[in-house]
Each structure stands twice: as structure tokens, then as C-alpha cells.
């Protein structure tokens, strides 16, 4: 991994991801990018823009249209010593590749008694809020977090995007890389000079009353909520989990020990979601510190709604503040 040149500040997340992958490709000739439309088009979100031009069709591969094969051939490439980065075009289209991910990618290292590595990164533009049609706004992280052998991370800022994609690619384990698509072009930011370790959470705003934890697409909502709550005198401590699996529980638990209250926020449906796991662990690890049960502000247990309703359905400022009110009443 390496830091960006001084001139490379003020990037969008899209640009940061692109530059991060470029660095990875420069540093390691075994890194190959593959997926649908990743070549000339640069991906439907242009995240791989220009990479085929610069690294050639052998390293940035427009594949035929089949996700199982995109993942399955990545496994074969990994056995041959490559380090594939697979792009899944949209969250909802990862499922045809699900078998290869959970039964092969996740398990191969273990099945080979640790003799073969699966340094595969699976990038998934994820989540809602962009007014898309069905299957284009899903939050699929929980499926992978529940699968032993995979790691699951989500970036929420350009700087994290830049560093995390490089760390994920450099990781010898398979990483599901969740990219919050609605933040791709949301805001420009400077790139930090060095990365935060990939599997560590980060307190992005300190506060003493309620801990609020999220990742990826919901982080901007959490920061807004913290500002709004502060006006009412309630200080939210906002944690960007960054890694969904493994979870950085020490950071979360330490915070909850101080605040006594935790709200977890994600877009995926509530039931059997990431919030449940965090609630279970925090309750176990900080039982006597909790002033209130862990609350969850999440997608509902319905299919992702038609886009005209997505803003009501998604965790939004109002819903987070409502949960803050509720948790303060305990």
C-alpha cells in the first residue's frame, strides 16, 4: 500500500476507490480486476475507470455475464497465485454467485488445511437511496458476516475507501468489500496520510450520552443525527464500525461502558441483521453498564421498497432521533 501524492486530495469516494485499486495493481502484478463492464466502460459506476486502458485487458477483464463464474474463476485464479478483485455490478446480483462465495471462497483455505490462500476481494456497490429499480438497493452484508471464513468491511469516506480497498486487496483472506453506492459522488474529502487498520472501528464523533454505531451508507445520517441531537443537548458518540466481520467489539463496548446506551443503525432488514449481533454481544459484554436495551434503527423486514418510498423506509435522521428519544427515556 502506499499513500497518495500530495496533489491527490479532495477526492470523491469513487475516485478514491479507483486510485486505491490503481495503487494495488501497480504494487502487485498478480492483482487482476474482473467483472461485468469493468473494462472500457469502467463499470456502471466508473469505479474502474481507465484501469483497463492502463493495465491492459489481461488485468482488467470484462467477463461474460454470470456471477457464479466471476467468483468461481477467481477461485481458480487464486489457486494459480493471482489476487482477483471481483466487481459485482449491484448488490442484488451477488446471489447467483452466492454458492461459490460461501462454499468455495470462504472455505478453501480451511479445506486445504491452510495451504492455499484465497486473497479475493469482492466489491459490492451496496445499499439504497439512489432511486433505483428493484435488486439495485440491497444490503447483503449479513449473509456474508454469518459465513465463517469471510471478512466483511464497509467504507464510508473517501479516505477510508482509498486505504481500505488497498488493505482488502492486500489481505490474504477473502474480503467482501461493501461500497455505499450513494456516497460514491456524495462528498469530496482529503485522503489521510496513513490507513486506520482495516478491522478497527473508529469513533468519528465523541459524546457521552448515547453510542450510535453504523457503517457504510448510514454514516452520514449518523453524523447529521449527532449534530441535531447536540442542539437538544444530547451528545451522541458516533462509531463507524468499518468492519462488520470481524467486529471491533472492544471499541464499541468501551464506548457503551461510558454512555450506557447503544443504538445500531443499518439499512439491511432488522431481523437477523448486524444490529442483532452487536446487541447480543454488547449485552453480554457490558450487561451491568447498560441503562437501556440496545435499540436498532434499520431497514424493515420487507423487500426493499419501490424507490418512491425508500426514504421513509431507510434509517433516516428522524428515525435515528426518535430512537435517541426512546433510549433516553429508559
Amino acid at each position: 500500500m502506499s499513500a497518495p501524492a500530495a496533489t491527490t486530495n479532495n477526492w470523491t469516494m469513487a475516485k478514491a476507490l479507483n486510485e486505491g485499486m490503481r495503487k494495488s495493481m501497480e504494487l502487485d502484478p498478480k492483482v487482476v480486476i474482473m467483472g461485468e463492464d469493468v473494462g472500457k466502460l469502467g463499470g456502471v459506476f466508473r469505479i474502474t475507470d481507465g484501469l483497463q486502458k492502463d493495465f491492459g485487458e489481461d488485468r482488467v477483464i470484462d467477463t461474460p455475464l454470470a456471477e457464479s463464474a466471476i467468483i468461481g474463476t477467481a477461485v481458480g485464479l487464486a489457486i494459480r497465485g493471482y489476487r482477483p478483485v471481483c466487481e459485482i455490478q449491484f448488490d442484488g446480483f451477488v446471489f447467483p454467485g452466492f454458492d461459490q462465495i460461501v462454499s468455495q471462497v470462504a472455505k478453501f483455505h480451511n479445506r486445504s488445511a491452510g495451504l492455499v490462500k484465497m486473497p479475493i476481494t469482492i466489491r459490492i456497490p451496496s445499499g439504497g437511496g439512489i432511486g433505483a429499480v428493484e435488486h439495485h438497493s440491497e444490503s447483503v452484508e449479513t449473509y456474508f458476516a454469518h459465513t465463517a471464513g469471510l471478512k466483511v468491511v464497509a467504507c464510508s469516506t473517501p479516505s477510508d475507501a482509498y486505504w481500505m480497498i488497498q488493505e482488502a486487496i492486500a489481505d490474504d483472506d477473502p474480503v467482501i468489500f461493501i461500497e455505499p453506492k450513494r456516497l460514491y459522488h456524495a462528498a469530496r474529502a482529503d485522503i489521510e496520510a496513513a490507513p486506520t487498520p482495516l478491522y478497527e472501528a473508529r469513533i468519528v464523533r465523541p459524546g457521552q450520552h448515547v453510542t450510535v454505531a453504523g457503517y457504510g451508507p448510514t454514516m452520514s445520517t449518523l453524523l447529521e443525527s449527532a449534530k441535531a441531537a447536540a442542539e437538544d443537548g444530547i451528545e451522541l458518540e458516533v462509531i463507524d464500525l468499518r468492519s462488520v466481520s470481524p467486529l471491533d467489539m472492544p471499541t464499541v463496548v468501551e464506548s457503551v461502558r461510558r454512555t450506557g446506551r447503544l443504538i445500531v443503525v443499518h439499512e439491511a432488514p432488522q431481523s437477523f441483521g448486524v444490529g442483532a449481533e452487536i446487541a447480543a454481544r454488547v449485552t453480554e459484554q457490558a450487561f451491568y453498564s447498560l441503562e437501556a436495551p440496545v435499540l436498532r434503527v434499520t431497514g424493515y423486514d420487507t423487500p426493499y421498497p419501490p424507490s418512491r418510498l425508500e426514504h421513509e423506509w431507510l434509517p433516516n435522521l428522524d428515525r435515528v432521533l426518535d430512537a435517541v428519544d426512546k433510549i433516553m427515556e429508559y
Binding site: E36, D37, G39, K40, L41, G42, V44, D62, T63, P64, L65, A66, S68, A69, G92, F93, F95, P96, G131, A132, V133, E134, H135, H136, Q270, S271, Y300, D301, T302, P303, P305, P306, S307, R308, L309, E310, E312, W313, D318, R319, D322
Partner: protein, 370 residues
């Protein structure tokens, strides 16, 4: 037989019955018994569905639709195949078969909800025997195979009763041909001798990927290894598409098994309104295909050969205008769904836990909006 047919077929591997210049040609395997009036009705279809498409694109630009997948260039493939269906046949579209929907009697407004974001489809596939649009590439081909299994189990093939014998028509694209699901559908259809016709619109592109990314051999050849026939048809020739699909559907209805039809056509517009073709294809390619326009050749035939005059074309144009107005105003009038409707129809029987989420949500929405 049609009234004006030339004797020679220009390209034996590509079934064509009407040249780009508007000349009728014959194909030994696909005689088409059609009157000029019937051809004029197809012309009307072509023009009207193109107009639906044009309006939808405009509505997308105006922010009334979130997205649109244009059928421009593929009208003949869709009208030809769509008009080959009988009412009781069943069609399984992708997200681009607006022309087939038209043939099935589906109001174009019914299609708009998905693209406008007011619903996820929201109609009953059995009303017009036209399935919900399917966005997950290839998934619908298995639904078609399964439906065809049901047809067989209902004893609705090979009885000789034209009111009863039923065929299924499954649409997919050149890109989709690479998906496991599509090939599994071929396995099921072949092994089960199912009454299903696979209609692949090879429009040369899967978003930015040319068809050569998917296959180095013509797609219609895929069928033979699964045990059924494949045929390539000029997808810009509505008569050829009609004749070839009709024959294949008859085959299916007669319990003679599946067929793969590759309609060789072209996606004249970007993949969807989100796409930018300049990154991956040359304008000159589009220009070449313009010369094979599916409507122009029918118009040429009707004018030069069949002697239709301007009154006919003006009437169609009037109809198109009215239809456009219907689409425009109808789209704007499409009601927004109520927030709480997201909880409807998750299940047939709502669980208590979902009922609770719903009532919290309803309270919350009314609180916020109060």
C-alpha cells in the same frame, strides 16, 4: 401466401422475409401466409411501441421516471414474436419487452410503475399472460420452463385442440446467454421436451460488452447441444420474427419440444437512460444498423409494393400521438404508493412481528408529517 413475394432468399443462415429495402423474400422453411392488411397492422404496432418508448425516454429526462430501458431497434423482434403468441400462451419478458407487453394488451402505464418507483411490477401476470418484468438476468427463463412443466401437467400440449394447446415464450438477451440459469432452463426444456420457446434478442450488446465477450459462435447454435433446434432470424424483420416464432410455438404446442430463436438485432439506444455508449461503441456502427430499421422496411413495403397511401400512415400517426398523450398524462397521474404499503404483501398472511413494525412505522410517519 402473401400477395407480393420474391423468389430468392439472400442469406440462408439468417431467416429473412422482408429485406431492409422492403422487398418480400421467401424462405423454404418459413412460408408466411399474411395479407397486406395484416402487415399494415404490424406496421401500426411497430410505430406505436416506438412511440411509447420515445415518450418514456422523455418522461425519464423530465424526472417522471427514474430509469427507462429503451427498445429502439428491437421493435420488429418484439412485435413479430409477440404477435405470434395466442392469448392463452404465456410470455416471460426481461425488462425491455415493452413491445411484447403491447401485443399482450398490457397498458403501457402498467409498465411504468417499476421505472417510476411507485411499485415493483404490481400487476397480475395471468391477466394478460405476460409475466412481471424480471431484472435479475436470466432468472425468468427458469420460470418459463417451470410454467411449461405446469402446462404439460395440465395436459395442455399435443391435444390438437387449438384452444387448449399452450406454449410458453421466454425472452432473454445475448448477455443473459452466459448465465447458469439460462443454460439450466435449456437443460430442463431439452430433457423434459417442454413447450417453451426461448427468444434471445441478440442486440449485440450487454451494456458495454459486445456479444463476442459472451460467445465466439452464434448463439442460436447453443440449442443443439441441449437437444433442440436453434434458428437465427433477422430481428429487424417483423415478418420473419412472426413466422419463425409462430412455427416454434406451434411446435411447442404440438408437444414437439422447445426451440431457441436468436433474433439478430441491435440496441440503437444506450442500455438504459443511465448509460453512456460513447465509452464503448462507435457511432458508425449505429449508423449501419439504422439502414436496417425495422419500421422503415415495412413502410417501404406498404408504400411501394402494397400501395398504402398517406391516409393510412397519417391515421397511424394520429394514433401514436394519442397514445403518447396517454403515456405522458397517465404517467404523471400514477399515484404514489402510501408509505405503509411497503408492509403489504410481504406475505399472504402478515406475521404479528411485521404487523408491529408496520404500526410503529405508521405512527412514526404520521408523527413526522404532523
Amino acid at each position: 401466401m402473401s400477395e407480393h413475394v420474391l423468389a430468392v432468399h439472400p442469406e440462408p443462415d439468417l431467416v429473412q422475409l422482408l429485406t431492409p429495402e422492403g422487398q418480400r423474400v421467401e424462405h423454404p422453411d418459413y412460408p408466411l401466409d399474411i395479407t397486406d392488411d395484416e402487415i399494415s397492422a404490424l406496421y401500426r404496432d411497430l410505430v406505436l411501441v416506438r412511440r411509447i418508448d420515445t415518450e418514456a425516454i422523455a418522461l425519464q429526462r423530465q424526472g417522471e421516471l427514474g430509469l427507462w430501458a429503451s427498445l429502439l431497434g428491437q421493435e420488429a423482434a418484439q412485435i413479430g414474436s409477440g404477435r405470434a403468441l395466442k392469448g392463452h400462451d404465456m410470455a416471460f419478458p426481461t425488462y425491455r419487452e415493452h413491445g411484447v407487453a403491447w401485443c399482450r394488451g398490457v397498458d403501457p402505464l402498467t409498465l411504468l410503475g417499476l421505472f417510476r418507483g411507485t411499485n415493483l411490477g404490481g400487476f397480475d401476470p395471468r391477466e394478460h399472460n405476460f409475466n412481471l418484468y424480471t431484472i435479475v438476468i436470466g432468472a425468468q427463463t427458469l420460470h418459463a420452463a417451470g410454467y411449461a412443466m405446469g402446462v404439460v401437467r395440465d395436459g395442455a400440449v399435443g391435444t390438437g385442440d387449438p384452444q387448449r394447446d399452450t406454449a410458453v415464450l421466454a425472452f432473454f438477451g445475448d448477455g443473459a446467454s452466459s448465465q447458469g440459469d439460462v443454460n439450466e432452463a435449456f437443460v430442463w426444456a431439452g430433457a423434459g421436451n417442454l413447450p417453451v420457446v426461448f427468444f434471445c434478442q441478440n442486440n449485440q450488446w450487454a451494456i458495454s460488452e459486445p456479444v463476442t465477450t459472451q460467445s465466439r459462435v452464434p448463439l442460436f447454435q447453443r440449442a443443439s447441444g441441449f437437444g433442440f433446434a436453434g434458428v437465427r432470424v433477422d430481428g429487424n424483420d417483423v415478418l420473419a420474427c412472426l413466422a419463425v416464432t409462430r412455427k416454434a410455438l406451434d411446435h411447442a404446442r404440438n408437444a414437439q419440444g422447445p426451440t431457441l430463436i436468436e433474433a439478430f438485432t441491435y440496441r440503437m439506444n444506450p442500455h438504459t437512460t443511465n448509460d453512456d455508449t460513447r465509452r464503448y461503441r462507435l457511432g458508425s456502427e449505429v449508423e449501419t444498423w439504422k439502414l436496417k430499421d425495422p419500421i422503415e422496411r415495412v413502410r417501404a413495403y406498404l408504400t411501394r409494393v402494397a400501395g398504402f397511401d398517406h391516409t393510412f400512415f397519417e391515421k397511424v400517426e394520429e394514433e401514436a400521438k394519442a397514445l403518447a398523450e396517454h403515456v405522458r398524462s397517465g404517467c404523471r397521474a400514477l399515484p404514489d404508493p402510501t408509505p405503509e404499503s411497503v408492509f403489504d404483501n410481504v406475505h399472504v398472511t402478515m406475521s404479528d412481528e411485521l404487523r408491529e413494525q408496520r404500526s410503529e412505522f405508521v405512527d412514526f410517519v404520521s408523527e413526522v408529517s404532523a
